[in-house]
């Protein structure tokens, strides 16, 4: 398989995935695709197309939602994570997620960053301190707030809150970072910071992102998948999908004829 940057491994393989909610809203049908390690994998398309469902199915956050039916396979490093007895807690530590609206937990900045580590049973203060510094640096937030880690997380600006949420996921050193429209509420400068951060992060992590616009999708995608009404319409290297889409509907969406 050809990739934009030469050799790349498949991190997650999705096979014939179908999800239906019991109230009949957003669902997925017949999704088969790969998510590549150390790449920025983009899921884009009009809202209601199943992108968020896809993310939440990958780390099984959907377990708590009203899912009526689910079939197919999701192989993470070859292991089917949809298996009934799969350890979902462990899975969620390996696949971090950042949501559209920043949701700091009602505690200090420091406690926010180490929240996942505490749950995992890490207690050593030196380890936690080091994790906080590393995660905040990776999220390009360290320089701005290093001297007020004890402040309430809600004292931060919206852009800072979103990077804090990213740092909180990074602190667990997951293998995959999933971001669901992480810049939708941010100003252009904060958005730029987040996008640049992603480029650095892909050295260490696999990135799966639902961008908040087609433009952003085109800017950052190594791989792109176009979702429409629960179906995967087209999937390929970002450059190809955004410059020479194979499917007519993809082209129409990219050129702004609908969506």
């Amino acid at each position: 398989m050809t990739t934009p940057d030469g050799a790349s491994d498949v991190k997650i393989h999705v096979q014939d995935l179908a999800v239906a909610y019991s109230d009949g809203t957003e669902s997925l049908q017949g999704i088969t695709m790969d998510i590549y390690a150390h790449q920025i994998n983009v899921l884009f398309g009009p809202s209601g197309g199943g992108k968020s469902t896809m993310l939440r199915t990958l780390n099984r956050l959907n377990d708590q939602a009203d899912v009526a039916a689910q079939s197919g396979q999701i192989l993470l490093d070859g292991e089917n994570i949809l298996a009934r007895d799969y350890d979902v807690t462990q899975l969620r530590r390996r696949l971090g997620i950042v949501f559209a609206r920043p949701v700091p937990l009602p505690m200090s900045i420091y406690e926010n960053v180490i929240y996942g580590l505490r749950l995992a049973g890490v207690k050593d203060p030196a380890t936690l301190d080091a994790a906080v510094e590393r995660a905040l640096k990776q999220a390009v937030l360290w320089d701005e707030i290093a001297d007020r880690l004890g402040d309430n997380a809600y004292a931060l600006s919206g852009g800072q809150q979103q990077r804090l949420c990213l740092a909180r996921s990074l602190a667990l050193q997951p293998e995959v970072i999933m971001l669901d429209e992480p810049t939708s509420g941010l100003d252009p400068i904060s958005t730029f910071k987040v996008e640049r951060t992603l480029q650095d992060l892909k050295q260490d992590y696999t990135i799966l992102i639902v961008p908040h616009s087609v433009q952003q999708a085109a800017r950052i995608a190594d791989w792109a998948a176009f979702f429409l009404q629960g179906q995967l319409i087209e999937w390929g290297p970002g450059r190809q999908v955004f410059t020479a889409p194979k499917n007519k509907r993809t082209e129409e969406y990219i050129t702004g004829r609908f969506g």
Partner: protein, 282 residues
Amino acid sequence: MISRQVSERIAFGVISLTAVLVILPIVGIIAYIVVEGAGAISWSFLSEMPRDGMKAGGLLPAIIGTLALTVGTAIVAVPIGLGAAIYLSEYSKDNATTRAIRIAIINLAGIPSVVYGLFGLGLFVIFLNFGTSIVAGSLTLGIMTLPVIISTAEEALRAVPQSFRLVSTSLGGTRLQTIRRVVLPQALPGIITGIILGIERAAGETAPILFTAAAFFLPKLPSSIFDQTMALPYHLFVISTQVPGMPLQIQYGTAMVLLTFVLSLNLIATLIRRYYRQKRVW
């Protein structure tokens, strides 16, 4: 035909007058008891045993008894009430079990207090052979208090944004970890408010302890939880209806002590609620 403005003024006038006429006595009753009873209040009134057929001396055994019953009620009601609230808010789905629990809570809230007294008499005093005792009274009051604690605690838990739970879960939190580290701390002020309000109600109750815990008069303080006890509400009932020639000032003084105890709990609950509502970040 009167104009709209005039009819509105008349209607609002009648409504306002009615409301004021029912709200004013609330303040009035409290003020009246304070005015009539304040003269009886002294350190010895609070710290001495009753003397001369309760016509002199103090309220000590009744105060101690009410405190003991209040603490006992909390010990019974808090764990069960909190557990049930957590179950309803965090665990249960909308199924037959949940509906049965909700119906049970509605009915527990509606059972007359004197019927709780009968139940306590039948189950705790006689069947379990606890006798008329602090323990039987606390269990009875505790069960009676459950619905208040459950509904307020559930409301407080549900007010915690769903997004916090989602974030905690996404970071590898189990349901219990999420409850313990995020949901409970955030709901705590509301839960404490509910507990205090429930216990306040129990502290002022007479009917449920009539046959389960309360004694007309005891020459000494209870020495174990299996002893019967005097209690402020029952004591007020006794001295105002059963003891001829009781000095009025002692009656009002007793009412004032009971009212002060109960309304301070009420005030504490209100203050906690206000304080944390302002402090809340979400």
